[in-house]
């Protein structure tokens, strides 16, 4: 790409100096951030803190997707919004805050929900996708599109006092390639093959959420997205190179956070769980997968049906 070896402007130097002097970052890492495009899907409890640090770090283009508007019940945890912006589209509200923090990035609002029809066109324009959504149907859709478009995916979720985070599809490898060296990274479906039963899908609105819990996960997502770009972890290593960086992304770690209101930080507050790598039989990325972008646009698979949402439209009380 152009600009990867250009000089930093005085403005950029002043603004980013404190992270550029961190060992491993440097001017090279900063220029990679400036020349990158990160898509954040969801401008709520995860998306707000994730976007703050991604924008602050100087990522060149920050895309934000969310169809919701700011509600007062969001504000204890969605710290990029404001009372004066109640009723505004969340992406627009968050961009007001982000632009105030750092006017240098280009902010691209998508003030509608990601769906099977629009997902590929949007995702295709970015280098890394950060999943800050709140429902399994969209999570499976995002992962499928990231597999097909070969985008790394930083996925997190949180409800009540628990949080989870995992980096998927990084570096991306072609659909169907399983026996790669180094090991091909898994997708969301490799780790979470089937959605939970429809009745168990509690959202933060229904089940509640502690602000700092979802906040921790959102900030952690920013940290992973920034490191992927700054260290080019999404660029597959040159196979002729004998250097094999142990990025442990081919067999990634699921980080789980258990916040306990009744006791202090302890040995089980954070746990790093070793997940399997890419699965041969994965519906999306495995051998012989028939998943295509055209199919997704045409309604196959049906994500709502897969996640059982159709069955919950029966709202009659027994």
């Amino acid at each position: 790409k152009d600009g990867h070896s250009r000089r930093l402007t005085d403005e950029e130097f002043e603004r980013y100096s404190r992270q550029m002097i961190v060992p491993g970052m440097g001017k090279e890492g900063q220029l990679r951030l400036i020349n990158s495009r990160i898509l954040i899907i969801g401008a709520g409890g995860l998306g707000c803190p994730a976007a703050q640090y991604i924008a602050g770090a100087g990522v060149g283009t920050v895309g934000l997707v969310d169809g919701d508007v700011v509600d007062k019940s969001n504000l204890h945890r969605q710290v990029g919004h404001a009372t004066s912006r109640l009723g505004m589209k969340k992406v627009d509200s968050l961009i007001v805050h982000l632009r105030g923090l750092n006017p240098l990035p280009t902010y691209v609002p998508y003030a509608f929900p990601l769906d099977a029809q629009n997902a590929a066109d949007i995702v295709a324009q970015y280098d890394v996708v950060v999943d800050c959504t709140d429902n399994p149907a969209t999570r499976y859709l995002i992962s499928d599109v990231c597999v097909l478009l070969r985008k790394p995916l930083v996925s997190a979720a949180s409800v009540q006092k628990s949080g989870q985070l995992i980096v998927l599809n990084c570096p991306p490898t072609p659909q169907g390639v399983v026996d790669a060296t180094p090991r091909a990274a898994p997708c969301y479906r490799c780790c979470f093959k089937k959605p939970p039963p429809p009745g168990s899908m509690v959202s933060c609105g229904e089940a509640g959420i502690m602000g700092p819990v979802v906040g921790m996960m959102g900030v952690a997502q920013a940290g992973e997205a920034i490191k992927i770009i700054a260290s080019a972890l999404h660029i597959p290593p040159d196979p002729s190179s004998s250097v094999s960086p142990e990025t442990n992304l081919g067999q990634p770690t699921l980080l789980i956070y258990s916040y306990d209101l009744a006791s202090g930080v302890g040995p089980y507050t954070f746990r790093a769980l070793k997940m399997a790598g890419r699965r041969k039989t994965c519906f999306a990325c495995g051998e012989g997968s028939t998943l295509t972008l055209e199919g997704i646009r045409a309604g196959s698979p049906n994500y709502e049906q897969f996640c059982g949402l159709a069955t919950t439209t029966n709202q009659t009380r027994l």
Partner: protein, 173 residues
Amino acid sequence: MSAAATQAPPAVPAVQTIPITVDFSGGLEMLFSNQRRHSLDVPAADDEGNKSNIGFLVRHLCSTALKDPRTDLFVLDHHMYVSSLSLSLSLTHTLSELPSHLGSEIHVSPLDARPMMPRRLRLVMLIRSGSVSSSRPGILVLINDADWELEGEEAYELQPGDNILFVSTLHGG
């Protein structure tokens, strides 16, 4: 005290057990008195003499829960017992919709009960069915912090000191 009384009774053959810890996370711990970690001694072999594996552990958790109402291992919140729940219960029921025959054993404070109900029932299903399969949705099983598929899933034979973690998949954001 007679001399006979001080004699030790003939030793009952000790049941060989395996000490393990079982953890619940991602909200599942709320089903177990908010206790994340449970130290257990499980039989080293099943009734047929096969070494105890993960499949056996789940059956063991199940039968322990149903046979021993004193332990709070299978108490849901404070007052709700697995043994009182009907397997036929629809997963989409909310508290106010619970069949009345579950009756007096259910005493859950309304505030936190409603949203958690589906997950309670989900775990009840897990335990009552006596088996978890790799396709069981919504719950990950970790053996010593590794996805159980790396370790052989249900066929993994328990070792002393093992840690088995059940964690529910989250979707909120």
